[in-house]
Assembly symmetry: C2
């Protein structure tokens, strides 16, 4: 068991996860075999099971965690600094670009569908990702309120939840149709909704 991992061991393990993530993004989980991953990462069957004793599911779960981390990282530093309209719009652009580049396979969506049933592991990863994402959006909205740029009456949690849902759906639709119109519409409408609440009260 990988209780004690050598530096080399850790490197190999990381190589497997990253390579697997690549292949999965390209082919989708349904069409990816362990042999695909093995050949891409230049490893052997035994290594795969050495580092992931529970087999494919465990590896898939590790990839899911890897991808989940990437999602928020790729939005930084913008997501952490949503304190002006300009920063909101910069963030918007980053999100659109990131998902347009990603191609037509949602790593997390498909991974979840595959592993979903088998345990609470996958669910926990997605839930935690959504929680953090929404939290950062909510923080940005509260900053706007503090700066007098948005109404203090705004229901921040609900609005953040709605915006997150819009992004999520926009991405889903883009994966299915190849068109990013809905993602842009969700982001723009969400931000416009925030802006439209200003002017109510501007405590200096």
């Amino acid at each position: 068991m990988p209780d004690a991992l050598t530096a080399k061991g850790r490197a190999t393990r990381a190589r497997i996860v990253e390579g697997a993530a690549e292949v999965l993004r390209e082919q989708g989980v349904a069409f990816t075999t362990l042999d695909d991953i093995r050949s891409r990462t230049g490893t052997s069957k035994s290594q795969l099971f050495h580092y992931f004793p529970d087999g494919k599911d465990e590896l898939l779960l590790a990839v899911a965690q890897f991808e989940a981390d990437r999602v928020l990282e790729d939005q930084q530093p913008h997501l952490g600094r949503l304190d002006s309209w300009e920063s909101w719009h910069q963030w918007r652009d980053v999100v659109v670009e990131r998902y347009e580049l990603q191609g037509d396979h949602c790593p997390l969506g498909s991974l979840f569908l595959q592993v979903g049933r088998s345990g609470p592991g996958a669910r926990a990863i997605v839930t935690e990702l959504m929680r953090q994402w929404q939290e950062q959006l909510a923080r940005g909205m509260r900053t706007l309120q503090e700066n007098g740029l948005a109404s203090p009456d705004l229901d921040v949690e609900r609005t953040a939840a709605a915006l997150l849902a819009g992004i999520q759906g926009g991405v889903t639709i883009m994966m299915s149709t190849g068109d990013s119109t809905h993602l842009r519409a969700a982001l723009d409408t969400g931000i416009a909704h925030l802006r439209s609440t200003k002017g109510a009260t501007a405590t200096a």
Copy 2:
């Protein structure tokens, strides 16, 4: 080949599609075999291939179409009559209820992931569903404008696209986390956004 289908034949075919849809909703496409479908529908292997000569993919595609039709049907008649705030709220309730009952497997999402690559068939089904759905939302919004309940300055297509994305994402998140908060937030915020635009101009 199913050029000529007897009444009995048509019935069997329909039974297969409906039964397959059930099983797929329960188990997810990744864990459903033709034998599962065969046993659920009380049919034999040869029947499956008699009615769907191209095998599993063709059957899955038929199920996808079946489910896509259901999506809009289940929202009627409310979706077709979005002419007052009351009707919008009724529709909202129907949507939430429908997806809360559906359980934790998105038939279309997973079907798309499976068949997606193999051809434009699946993509076309999803694209067409989204188009019709958005069109009906847009029509409802225009009705509101005509009735002086929403601002004529509202960008109807964009707002409809954003609302659709919100629903889609809300459903996706609910599938992953088991929590319908985001779906409700998306619907409520979307409708609230519509309402907030009124009063601007009310041409009688």
